[in-house]
Symmetry: C2
Subunit: 345 residues, 2 copies
DNA sequence: CTGAAAGCGCTTACAG
DNA sequence: CTGAAAGCGCTTACAG
């Protein structure tokens, strides 16, 4: 592979001059520029990003560590992150933690070893020593979706409190009184917040959230199935199951189906996170939709601000309720979803 | 950030010795090793992968360029690729082409600039000059899922011919005679092969595939919707629509639903690529399932073989039919899927 | 405007 | 077993 030396030789100039034309340095003669460009073309030369990074101490690369790529919510997040980063001249390297703290650490370490310019993290847990060190130790960092309390790192996330209130109001209006939740891991902020928001919304209607109706999941489908089976085995099963993410909703669906029960006649189902498939499940599923793309873009902007020396800002965007048929028919509108529903588009 | 020099100073040895203990070189005294390790620990030293790569001319990194991360099939492929690569001591950087040749080239170029050790590609088109140059120009490369004919690059893919034959037999047995397909882009091998396999299978039953029943899609949901609408507008609409991937099936579902038609009573639907949601759609969708994880792992093994100087091997794995209810009830088994159906697990 | 030279952080023959 | 030195491919003050 041709190096800058080969180009210099071919063009009859020094490597310094080649470097200058490659980096659009103003003080290069037209003649030199022309010859260098011709040589670059002739040799099919491409600068070695590794060497450049070593010299400039920047990689123009962002690391993104997410908890689970297979979760469509995170896939979409990753996609919007890459898009915005590309617009700003950065590449992104994705590390998939698969909800495993050890894997998360593996990726953080690898990314740090590669000297990425900044790190976007949706932490799987409360923060390993490695992660905490990185956060405090000067690595530009931004939390997205989930975050770790007590660390001075900007957070870009969405607030589902209002949407969960709307959901509970909807369920209450439909006559449901025994509501259960499949929670995410307590080690994650989203795992805790969604349960709290649910509990608070219930209280506003004078309803309790008994322990028996709080199942511990891990944001993966299998746990949704397991918890739902537990609910169905109860002497008095809940009338509604609210899954704290879309994968656990998938597991819940599996469990309900395995028993031959019907949704919403036998049991109602709602989920946090909206995905295109929820329109076509049997029945279509009522969900809390996050502004995922906006979240990813805002997170990148905050991180790049931090990297480039501008003050980064935390951002909180509201989620919203998308009503479909999985909790029972709406008295008013027979339609499955509001006009604004983006997963229908 | 501490460098190897700092460690050497702290341990009272030369940087050469530090490098040796870090790389498990045998000729290092126990004493030196202990002191170096202590210094590494004290300083929290982590080797700079950028510098190491520049020196050794290898990055222990694989590039993976896929056509669309949002497609669950490719997400799963990416996940299995990363897993196998990690097992073999490699990292992977994913580039998402979004079915756009220009974006694909962008990622190939970026990856090459970073001097990745090898490239895994599922090409979006017939091969840009850049891609062709890379393939011929010595970059270790393996095609996965899709490939470019006429290039000497190993291919790891699955053969859906048998499964498509099974599908058509199934449809024929159900009494369907007017079968249509939503094809993928003709510039991709999978786009062409699935249509050919379908046509051949039809011929075996004495059926034709008229042009009006061959809609041109692009593997994205929107095209599935558009093509399906065209089919439904025909004076004599097809009895079955076969979508050449799962996203176009989603679009088809949208279109059918928008017209208020029922599946399978009004029109039957089948898809290439199986995903967990197909179990829970209304109705569950009959699909051709690829051994996605195996594909990803085999592709990595082939690429690493190539990188490390062993002869790489092309691999073709069979796909299989998963019968559900979207094409009509099975006369024999009332069950929605065979026992082996992995998307039920 | 241009080039010689230093240096980024490593690894690895080479000599001892 | 150990260290001094070269060199990977760049960029960038510095001097002219």
């Amino acid at each position: 592979m041709a190096s800058i030396k080969d180009v210099a030789a071919e063009a009859g100039v020094s490597v310094a001059t080649v470097s200058r034309v490659l980096n659009d340095h103003p003080s290069v003669s037209d003649d030199a520029r022309t010859r260098v460009l011709a040589a670059v073309d002739a040799l099919g030369y491409r600068p070695n990003a590794v060497a450049r990074s070593l010299r400039t101490d920047q990689t123009r690369t962002l690391g993104l560590v997410i908890s689970d790529v297979m979760n469509p919510y995170f896939t979409e997040l990753a996609r919007s992150v890459e898009e915005e980063a590309r617009t700003l001249g950065y590449s992104v390297i994705i590390g998939n933690a698969d909800e495993r703290p050890d894997l998360q650490d593996h990726h953080v370490r690898t990314l740090l070893d590669r000297r990425i310019d900044g790190l976007l993290v949706s932490p799987t847990d409360g923060g390993s020593p490695l992660m905490l060190d990185a956060a405090r130790g000067g690595t530009p960092m931004v939390f997205v979706d989930r975050w770790i309390p007590g660390v001075d790192v900007p957070v870009v996330r969405s607030d589902g409190r209002g949407a969960v209130r709307d959901l509970v109001a909807h369920l209450h209006a439909l006559g449901h009184r025994r509501l259960a939740i499949i929670a995410g891991p307590a080690a994650t902020t989203t795992g805790r917040e969604r349960v709290e928001a649910f509990r608070e919304a219930l209280q506003a209607h004078g309803l309790e959230l008994p322990d028996a109706y709080t199942g511990q999941g891990d944001f993966q489908a299998e746990s949704g199935r397991r918890v739902t089976e537990g609910f169905l085995d109860l002497p008095e099963p809940p009338e509604v199951v609210f899954a704290a993410d879309n994968l656990m909703a998938l597991g819940a669906l599996d469990a309900v189906r395995a028993r031959g029960l019907r949704i919403p006649q036998d049991i109602a189902l709602a989920a946090f996170d909206d995905i295109p498939w929820f329109v076509h499940t049997d029945p279509p599923i009522t969900a809390v939709a996050q502004p995922t793309g906006e979240l990813g873009r805002a997170a990148v902007r905050a991180l790049v601000d931090r990297i480039e020396g501008r003050p980064p800002q935390s951002v909180t965007l509201p989620a919203r309720l998308v009503v479909r048929r999985s909790c029972g028919e709406q008295p008013a509108s027979p339609e499955s979803a509001p006009a604004q529903n983006r997963s229908q588009s």
